[in-house]
Symmetry: C2
Subunit: 223 residues, 2 copies
């Protein structure tokens, strides 16, 4: 399943925030990859062909140079950290690592799953108002805890002054919050860290609006 040039492959979708996390990590580690679009909008993710790659029908899926398929964004990022430890995404010290993972998992397990596209479709069909209300409820609830947690851990970034995996989960989550028009005023720390991160080249290049499968009318809003 490896490509001819033996680059790894990332099956992903421009707007998927789990895909966005892994794109940031790949940019951070300087790993070149082949971009393969799996549209969550048209349902390519549920096609028989893609289910052979990822039986969960989710993005992203990462195919290593020797053809091993890895799924789940954090698992992929931990793998990248192991095979390429330069520019670490996890800090030194078991407590600090646990704090980074706690932020990562608060986003990945508590906040994000409740406002992804499959859930919104199931809850609200095409009703944008209902989707917005649902997404706002869960993001607000999660960000309230996250803001408090960051008050204990943050420096310039989520944990002190070094970029970690937590920052790579934060930016895609805030992007979703903007999309659902969440009022960010109660979350000044999340907002400040996110704005700082968005100025960095690795976060810019990984942004949804800078991806090949992003519609042209959105591309002009790219950071």
């Amino acid at each position: 399943m490896a490509s001819e040039e033996s680059k790894p492959i990332l099956y992903n979708y421009f707007r998927s925030s789990a895909s966005y996390r892994v794109r940031i990590a790949l940019a951070w580690k300087g790993i070149d990859y082949e971009y393969r679009e799996i549209s969550l909008l048209t349902g390519t993710n549920e096609s028989d062909e893609y289910l052979k790659v990822n039986p969960f029908g989710k993005v992203p899926a990462f195919v290593t140079k020797d053809g091993k398929v890895l799924v789940q964004s954090e698992a992929i990022m931990d793998y990248l950290e192991e095979i390429k430890p330069e520019r670490p995404m996890l800090p030194k010290g078991a407590i600090h690592r646990a704090q980074v993972r706690a932020i990562v998992q608060a986003i990945a397990c508590d906040i994000h799953p409740l406002q992804n596209l499959a859930v919104l479709k199931h809850v609200a069909g095409d009703d944008v108002e209902k989707r917005t209300e649902w997404a706002n409820y869960w993001i607000n609830k999660g960000f309230t805890g996250l803001e408090t947690m960051l008050e204990q851990t943050a420096g310039t970034y989520c944990l002190g002054d070094h970029i970690t995996m937590a920052d790579m989960f934060l930016v895609p989550m805030v992007q979703n919050a903007h999309r659902w028009k969440v009022d960010m005023k109660p979350f000044p720390l999340i907002t400040r860290i996110n704005n700082t991160l968005l100025t960095l080249p690795e976060f810019k290049s990984a942004h949804p609006f800078n991806q090949p499968d992003c519609p042209d009318e959105l591309k002009k809003n790219a950071p």
Copy 2:
């Protein structure tokens, strides 16, 4: 915040499957701890006092012997793995570790979050039929992917013949599936691995029905 005898503390709830995962890991590693009940049923988790421990109002929270508070089950388990590497919960080899983490995160990020108590309350209030229908939909969807993934990785356990973190996430998830009366016939591999694990002392002692805050009428069904 450490207890007088300097044992670590686990804030948890007998029925919470995230608590159950960490109880298995603590038993597996042979780490003694003080059990502190946080009732999700009466809402102790949202009390001002507990929100000072965990700003997300979730269980579990783990307090180390020197008073550091850690949250999120997988983050706590990774911490335990780092401070006590004996009886490893992660396999050797980056690909194998990524496979274990993928199973862990499929459960923790995709399946479990959609049928936890806070979500069921929000979706269905006290309507048991509606709760059951919702929980069944998401567990079925997730287990379909998980069964296929396990066909590629499983031996006696989720990954080959050694117990890993994936097994410690599987058993609590299946416990939830039983609670919501999910028909397990389409998932023979999940069922077989779960049944094998439930015979082991570490999984038995961590079982919800063996906890001090479990009501007596349930305790008699303990494995």
